[in-house]
């Protein structure tokens, strides 16, 4: 039942012949109330799917922007339970936008995988990405998520060669997340020409939509990726709007949502434009 929100959204976008725009935000950044306001505003601003980061003190695959976002959220008391509460609040008004929770193992280990899966399903979460749980360690989490009908979304990377890829996509569902650069979030830029063949390869091997993230900051880059992938994910550039809003004493929500609008617009028109060029 819950799985179908992701499938339904990708099916709908396929019919519209366009890629999804996926917005990543850090839950509780800069604080719970503002974070909730941002989350609730994302669908209208153009986010087709939402990744909700749950903060961890030691995010080893994040660059400085998302590290700082996690620190802001933690400093203001964000927890895994509050992140689940935030999703539940969001679901009261939105029954269709898929929500993927993304973060690191220890808060989940601490909550207990089974309890987490049940609580996440009850809150209206659709899938989970856990950055530091590779396939070799994933079975206990995958069992728990399966039991609650949640998707475990896997990360494929530039180091996922033909030997590794089958391991990566085993037990994955919903979509595959292609990490387009070897590196941390928010530093290197994705290269659409290099990404395209990998997206094809992962799509063929998994039979699932492929979302691309980790190196997309601008509407131009988002549009390029949207021409070759099923979804373009932007995270660091959005949390940087939070930082800038705070520094300039402007509305953080307005800044983030306006950035989402420009990125979503670029993704929506990407394939149309490429036909007319």
């Amino acid at each position: 039942m819950t799985k179908s929100r992701i499938e339904a959204r990708f099916a709908q976008l396929k019919a519209e012949n366009r890629a999804a725009f996926v917005a990543y935000v850090m839950a509780g950044d800069p604080d719970y109330a503002t974070g909730l306001e941002i989350l609730q505003g994302l669908p209208a601003a153009g986010a087709d799917l939402i990744e909700v980061g749950f903060p961890f003190s030691d995010p080893m695959a994040e660059g400085p922007p998302i590290q700082r976002a996690a620190q802001r959220a933690l400093a203001n008391g964000q927890t895994l339970k509050k992140t689940l509460a935030m999703v539940a609040e969001f679901r009261k008004a939105d029954q269709t936008t898929p929500i993927i929770m993304m973060g690191y193992a220890n808060p989940l280990v601490h909550h207990g995988y089974d309890a987490f899966a049940r609580d996440a399903a009850a809150a209206g979460v659709d899938g989970v990405i856990c950055v530091d749980i590779p396939p070799e360690e994933a079975d206990p989490l995958a069992d728990a998520l399966d039991a609650s009908e949640l998707s475990l979304i896997r990360l494929a990377t530039p180091t996922s060669d033909d030997k590794r890829l089958p391991v990566v996509i085993r037990r994955t569902s919903g979509f595959v997340y292609y990490v387009s650069v070897a590196g941390v979030t928010g530093v290197k830029e994705a290269d659409a020409a290099a990404v395209a063949p990998n997206v094809e390869r992962i799509r063929a091997a998994s039979g699932l939509p492929v979302a691309v993230g980790f190196g997309i900051k601008t509407p131009e880059r988002a549009a390029e990726i949207a021409r070759v992938a099923d979804a373009a994910v932007v995270g660091s550039a959005l949390v940087e709007e939070v930082a800038t809003g705070l520094a300039m004493n402007e509305s953080v929500t307005a800044r983030v949502l306006s950035k989402v609008e420009s990125l979503a617009k670029a993704v929506r028109s990407a394939r149309v434009e490429s036909l007319t060029v």
Partner: protein, 412 residues
């Protein structure tokens, strides 16, 4: 379903040395919790290390460098005046502080640099706390002509200035890490971020028996030279094995190197000493086993300092080398199965032990090693008058002179 958090003491194994298993587990501890980008590299490293371990040519080359460059074997020294002071068992000190670069860290660095070159890697990165591992890494990189970047918490850069300068003299680039608590765990985060970014040419030379498989097993194997020598030396000097072997525990590499050859000799007590900082009751300490719970950080499931939400908390210790919120997974397992015992020592107790060894034996111990020395009164009492205790003097204290002076309120 497999337990996610170990709760009950696991069964006692028939052979303690049969771990980790193929998936890198010591019971429920260990594993490979790393981002997918690194997984193929971690598998490559595992395969390359297994091949090297079984290659007599690799082992011969390593032995030769340990003998002629590091200065092994290190002496096992009968500390006569310290023994008299406690009036009890004979106390022997394993003199790892006499190794080239002044600590046990070089044993591991020599092994890993030879492996890195065998794997064709051309750039070395490392994390460091006290700077001892950074210095040892910079040293082997200089010796073999490889570029070296050392990540070090900004707080540690400040309190271990002489070691930063030593690394620079050896040609290494020291990157001060300001993220998080700006200490060892953050340096390790930053080194992992570097590795994820530079997957093609870079070898990550981890300095302790922690992190993702195969590091805990590999670092242990390279440090086991300590315990193997101790075993041979006590047999030669005393005609029997010691009753207890003692070491300080940060990530746990000098301790596991000492313990491992004795794991199946159940008459030998294995005692690790964790840093209690300002006191266990203050919460400002670095004792993962005595004051933490199992969780996942830096690639492995192990005891960690963490809050009620699974966020890692800051460690506190006078000793930069012990100032880490985790511990190697094999120690977590040895604790749970009851084979090793983990005690604690406060900053003040370590300072007192530092002074005592200087005055009685003419040896300045590292402030890390002083933590082990500080528990000798209790250990001697338990072992009894006719016993033999071997304590690993993991490093020399020259680097800590400023810290000790500050705590004594002296200007130097």
């Amino acid at each position: 379903m497999k337990l996610q958090i170990p709760v009950n003491a696991p069964a006692k194994p028939n052979d303690y040395t049969a771990y980790p298993d193929a998936s890198g587990r010591f019971g429920d501890y260990g594993g490979r919790y790393v981002p997918e980008t690194l997984m193929p590299l971690v598998h490559d490293l595992d395969a390359a290390y297994t091949a090297a371990k079984n290659d007599p040519a690799f082992q011969a080359e390593l032995r030769s460098f340990l003998t002629h460059y590091v200065g092994r074997p290190s002496p096992l020294y009968y500390a006569e005046r310290l023994t008299q002071h406690y009036g009890g068992p004979k106390i022997y000190l394993k003199r790892e502080e006499l190794n080239h670069t002044g600590s046990h860290k070089i044993n591991n660095c020599m092994g890993q640099i030879l492996l890195a070159m065998r794997m064709g890697k051309t750039r070395i990165i490392a994390e460091t706390g006290a700077g001892q591992h950074g210095v040892a890494t910079a040293t082997v990189c200089a010796r073999f002509g490889l570029p070296c970047v050392v990540y070090m918490g900004a707080v540690d850069v400040e309190r271990q200035k002489p070691n930063v300068f030593r690394m620079n003299l050896l040609g290494a680039q020291v990157e001060a890490v300001t993220a998080g608590s700006a200490t060892l765990k953050d340096a390790m985060n930053e080194a992992l971020r570097d590795w994820v970014t530079n997957v093609h040419d870079t070898y990550y030379l981890i300095g302790t028996a922690a992190g993702m498989h195969p590091y805990p097993a590999m670092v242990r194997d390279f440090q086991a030279v300590i315990g193997n020598e101790v075993k041979q030396q006590t047999l030669e000097l005393e005609g029997r094995l010691p009753d207890a072997v003692v070491a300080c525990v940060g990530g746990g590499s000098n301790a596991i190197g000492l313990f491992h050859p004795f794991l199946n000799d159940e008459g030998v007590q294995l005692i690790g000493v964790e840093a209690a900082g300002e006191g266990m009751e203050t919460g400002r300490h670095a004792a993962a086993i005595n004051g933490g719970r199992p969780g996942v950080l830096h690639g492995n499931m192990t005891y960690l300092l963490q809050d009620d939400e699974g966020q890692i908390t800051e460690a506190h210790s006078i000793s930069a080398g012990l100032d880490y919120p985790g511990i190697g997974p094999e120690h977590s397992w040895l604790h749970d199965v009851g084979r090793a015992k983990y005690l604690t020592c406060t900053d003040q107790e370590a300072l007192d032990a530092f002074k005592l060894l200087a005055e009685l034996e003419g040896i300045l111990p590292a402030i890390e090693s002083s933590h082990a020395l500080a528990r000798l009164p209790e250990i001697c009492k338990e072992v009894g008058k006719d016993g033999i205790v071997v304590l690993n003097l993991s490093g020399r204290g020259d680097k800590d002179v400023q810290t000790v002076a500050d705590h004594l309120g002296r200007q130097i």
